[in-house]
Symmetry: C2
Subunit: 212 residues, 2 copies
Amino acid sequence: MPGNSIEPSRFAIINRMTKIIADITVSLDGFVAGPEQSLDNPLGKRGELLHYWMFRDAEQNKPEIKLLGSHEAYIMGRNMFGPGRGEWDLDWKGWWGGEPPYHAPVFVLTHHRRESLQLQGTRITFVNDGINSALDQARHAVKDGSIGIAGGASTVRQYILAGLVDELRLHISPVMLGSGEYLWEGLEHINFEQIAGRSTKLVTHISYRILN
Amino acid sequence: MPGNSIEPSRFAIINRMTKIIADITVSLDGFVAGPEQSLDNPLGKRGELLHYWMFRDAEQNKPEIKLLGSHEAYIMGRNMFGPGRGEWDLDWKGWWGGEPPYHAPVFVLTHHRRESLQLQGTRITFVNDGINSALDQARHAVKDGSIGIAGGASTVRQYILAGLVDELRLHISPVMLGSGEYLWEGLEHINFEQIAGRSTKLVTHISYRILN
């Protein structure tokens, strides 16, 4: 892996210790994005309401925002990176339009090959051979921190269903979406243990251990 | 109304002040009961897990349990009172098998007529002419307290959709049910404002003002 200088024998130990944390904001009715996601509406109809807690009340939610940004590597689905489907538009360099907020290696799941991108402070690697490969690559990129599964719903679900997520950090916004990207589909047999929670004005944060 | 001794002219004032509060426990995926509710399984498959916070951790959830029991009148759907459907089995006197926990007038919505029941500390009135009638009767029964909409999902939804609920007190248990009685159906256009929230070990309590 690029930038990796630790010998293989140490990996085994490091890998087992790395915590995998899914960190995602949902509506009261379990949607992480509204319907009709598009270039103009990355989070779908009314989806931007989900994240008011971060943008309109950052001060009150400082600890959670800090944790959200504290992972040493991130994995995300393609829609978290851009609006395109199918073959890549190589001019597209992420929703951020400049410096991405991650400042850590980001692994984007996609069915379509693309060379890695070095953006300001963040290297984006496109992974087209599955969630295990992305996780392996992320593990190699972290030292003693955690790996964040940043969304969307399908990516979070796939990692949870594969038994690979240790903790779900849920941010429940007081919003109903009614349709869109639904988080809970197919997770009905998953066992959660609530480990912490608190409310601020615009959101309730709850952390769950996933009992794999 | 039985037991009512306040003159009608005072009612109008009292009525407008009475707060209507829906107080209900949901799974992470929004179900207030599991599938296949029956006599042996009043809350459906795995539904009893929803209420562990009340029964296994009552001490930590004392304030919320106290509030839950502090309404001056309660309205509930028929399934909250018993397993029967269709004509009444007059021997059935509620799930409680003795003293109901309410100690306040309870109004049960039903399509089938039945005479009121006086149980230990709780009078049960069966209302078969709709949710507005039940609410009117409940308003006449309260003095300066609130009216609790105790469930199930359909009853809570009907009152919310009719614009009659001031506050939703949600208790989110760390449980997935996958199917059963779903709370959010048809509520996608409702606007909520989060007014308070806190977590204990087995549940997260969140109160929402409903912006009617």
